[in-house]
């Protein structure tokens, strides 16, 4: 088999080559594929909303009914 320069090319490499090692999936130790901090932040946000809500104080509004007798 000749390459483009007309010289004899090296035989195809066998076994684990550097390219194959790059193609192999890398073992990642990331929580939720890197979205861990986001998940934790969302969980904390949900906890904050549930435990210490930031809401307006309830107000009781008394209004006379239209047409009601005094």
């Amino acid at each position: 088999m000749n390459d483009t320069n007309g010289q004899h090319a090296d035989p195809a490499p066998t076994g684990i080559t550097s390219m194959q090692s790059l193609r192999e999936p890398v073992e990642r130790s990331l929580l939720f594929r890197g979205f861990g901090p986001l998940v934790v932040a969302l969980a904390l946000f949900a906890l904050m909303v549930a435990l210490v809500p930031t809401v307006a104080p309830e107000q009781i509004v008394e209004r006379p009914v239209a047409g009601a007798r005094p």
């Binding site: 904050m48 210490v52 307006a56 104080p57």
Partner: protein, 707 residues
């Protein structure tokens, strides 16, 4: 189906006929369509007449665009300033009508030429983004001048019914037709024919088109580009004045800063329809838009619905447009390289002195934010809370313009959406305020996609056009209590933070706003340092190179605007909290232009610069409010922001922060010299004449460092 679409794209006549059929069908099915038996001819006639006025406005915008490839946001003010002279002379001083008109148009032509010589030529070597921003500053300066002229000539605001000597009176049911209507109707075709003749038949016109296509080549061929540019700006000044004077008998005269940029909205819509190219298309588009506007006015009772029409027309016109960018239209987005602000060089950042000063300044800043409000009046603290919200809007502009190289002139429109969302959630359902804020952020991002996508998929600074249209529509239509009585959060009860800190207290509200701004700044800084941030800068500086590196440029631009929109939405949520409600007039379009100007003056290259600009001008506002009111205050504000913007763009493109950084670098150079540390980046930035003893080349630097 594909064949038909392909033919429509290829053959303009077929496309025009198809468009007419679609328009006719659409009008037929509209209740009370403009067909004569359903809608009176008078309504169509009014549409045609006022449509020609829009066409005139668009022609001036197109003329300038074809010469300098920028959208001239000062175009409205270029007419209103000389127009104020003409109307003042005729209306307030009792001068002869034709003489006043001639003087007005003459001043318009002269001021157009002067603007080119004094302002536009100074920016000949700047990017088109910088020149576009310069026209925004120019609009404010001209707006201030119009106010001064009005005061000098004793011209008060009036709304319509100016009585000109054009005495013709007619009637097309249901509206009267006066001589002023006929003047307006007749002027547009004459001017279009004149401009067409000038551009197509005269050697000057051909030279103008050549210079617009390739300025350098035209210069090499001996075309007097500068002189021709002056001629075009003079023509644009005269044209804008004519447009103003033909409209003023109907619209009246309101000395208003809004004339600067938002009053040209219909003209912008028509110019977008005409692709900023074709004058006949501008005439056709203007008449189409005029008829559409009057059809809607006749059929729909909602207030200011036509502002929404302009927005929809602009968005649709941009959506159906394909990106046919010419060579002349590339490279418009780079923010001036001189304006790029750099951090402390790595060689010096780790030094003890540098770290101590940085930490010291940081602690001082935080202490100032904590302590100053404690010694302030409640009203001052509220002003500080508003300033914090404005800082957040300024930050959103750093992301969009400083990094992304795009302009939004309607950022307060998105702030308004955020305010509506958060306000409604709190007012109606007493939702947790943090959830309401999150929803405001989300909605800000969604609006950014809707308004941004049509503009960002093609080259050119069209985002400025869509955003300004959105800001006008939001303020006049969507926040109008007449149209949406139940959905405008007029007043809300402020929540209690974490069941403990009542936000009815101005101090709690301020600290909450300041903390939110601080967190947002950290997030923005983190984004800038990430791969996404680097991609944004890459797309801004050279989108073709970025695209060749497999970066999806349109997507990145949209991402940038979405992040900017999210920040603006967050600002809206805070705004409704500080103000305790919102409504029509809370988010005026002029505010978007103001915050943009403040941020540019401070320095759009960095968060600190934009923050400094916004805080400085909000502080100035606070001080000015003590000493000036009414027209005087408006004149002062417009003059300061407008001239400040022009000054900064010319002398310090990086804003005031660039000056601060220059002083910082001077100190760092001294430190490096004392410590004998080689810092190439600091030496490279230094002017040779700054220091006579400075090493002249790298070997000198190394020798100095080793000695």
């Amino acid at each position: 189906m594909d064949d038909l679409l392909g033919r429509l794209r290829e053959d303009r006549k077929v496309a025009a006929i198809a468009g007419l059929v679609v328009a006719y069908s659409a009008l037929y099915w509209v209740p009370g369509s403009p067909l004569p038996e359903v809608m009176p001819w008078g309504v169509v006639a009014q549409g045609v007449i006022f449509g020609t006025s829009y066409a005139l406005m668009a022609m001036g915008l197109i003329l300038v665009y074809r010469t300098t490839r920028i959208v001239n946001f000062a175009y409205g003010a270029m007419g209103s300033m000389p127009g104020a002279i003409a109307v003042g002379l005729f209306q307030a001083q009792g001068w002869n009508y034709p003489l006043s008109i001639i003087i007005g148009v003459g001043v318009g032509v002269a001021s157009g030429a002067l603007i080119d010589v004094v302002v536009i030529r100074r920016f000949a070597n700047s990017s088109r983004l910088v020149l576009t921003v310069a026209t925004i500053g120019l609009a404010q300066v001209l707006g201030a001048m119009a106010l001064i002229i009005g005061l000098v000539l004793g011209l008060d605001a009036f709304y319509g019914n100016i009585h000109t000597p054009l005495s013709f009176k007619g009637f097309i049911r249901p509206y009267p037709v006066r001589g002023d209507h006929l003047l307006m109707l007749g002027v547009a075709p004459v001017i279009m024919a004149g401009l067409g003749w000038f551009l197509l038949r005269t050697s000057s016109g051909r030279a103008v088109r050549a210079a617009a296509e390739n300025r350098d080549r035209a210069l090499l061929l001996g075309v007097p580009v500068q002189r021709l540019q002056t001629l075009v700006w003079a023509l644009a000044g005269g044209l804008s004045t004519v447009t103003f004077l033909t409209k003023v008998p109907f619209s009246g005269y309101v000395p208003d800063a809004l004339v600067g940029a938002t009053a040209i909205l219909p003209g912008l819509a028509v110019a977008v329809i005409a692709r900023f190219e074709s004058l006949p298309a501008a005439l056709g588009g203007g008449i189409f838009l005029g008829i559409a506007e009057w059809t809607i006015r006749w059929n729909v009772t909602a207030e200011s619905i036509f502002d929404v029409t302009f927005l929809v027309v602009i968005l649709v016109a941009l959506l159906v447009r394909r990106d046919h960018s010419t060579r002349a239209e590339t490279g418009e987005s780079s923010w001036d390289a001189a304006g790029v602000l750099k951090g402390i060089p790595r060689e010096l950042a780790h030094l003890r002195e540098v770290r101590m000063v940085r930490r010291g300044l940081g602690v001082l800043g935080v202490l100032a934010v904590i302590v100053i409000p404690l010694w302030s009046e409640p009203s001052t603290v509220t002003t500080m809370s508003f300033a914090a919200v404005w800082v957040l809007v300024g930050m959103s502009l750093v992301v969009l313009t400083g990094w992304g190289g795009n302009i939004s002139l309607g950022q307060f429109g998105i702030v308004g959406v955020g305010a509506m969302a958060a306000g409604n959630l709190v007012m109606r359902w007493n939702v947790d305020f943090f959830v309401a804020l999150a929803f405001a952020v989300l909605l800000g991002g969604v609006v950014a996609v809707l308004v941004g996508l049509p503009a960002l998929r093609i080259r050119g600074l069209y985002l400025a056009v869509t955003t300004i249209a959105f800001a006008v529509a939001l303020d006049s239509y969507f926040l109008n209590p007449v149209n949406f009585s139940g959905y405008v959060p007029g007043s809300i009860v402020r929540p209690v933070l974490w069941k403990r800190f009542d936000m009815e207290s101005q101090w709690v509200t301020f600290y909450f706003c300041a903390t939110t701004v601080g967190v947002a700044a950290l997030v923005v800084r983190a984004v800038r340092r990430s791969r996404a941030g680097r991609a944004v800068i890459g797309v801004r500086d050279n989108d073709r190179a970025a695209a060749s590196m497999a970066i999806p440029t349109t997507f990145v631009k949209l991402q940038t605007f979405v992040l900017s929109g999210c920040l603006a939405g967050l600002a809206g949520g805070l705004y409704v909290l500080v103000l305790g409600g919102s409504g029509q007039g809370t988010f005026q379009p002029i505010m978007s232009i103001e915050v943009f100007s403040f941020a540019v003056i401070g320095g759009l290259g960095s968060i600190a610069g934009a923050t400094a600009g916004v805080v400085l001008f909000r502080g100035l506002d606070f001080v000015l409010a003590e000493y000036a009111t009414g027209d005087a205050a408006a004149i002062l504000r417009l003059s300061l922001t407008g001239s400040g913007l022009l000054f900064i763009l010319y002398f310090l493109p990086g804003g005031l922060w660039q000056f601060v950084q220059a002083q910082r670098d001077r100190l760092l150079r001294g430190l490096a010299k004392r410590r004998g540390i080689l810092v190439p980046s600091l030496v490279a930035d230094k002017r040779a004449d700054d220091d006579e003893h400075a090493p002249q080349d790298e070997s000198g630097v190394i020798a100095g460092a080793l000695s």
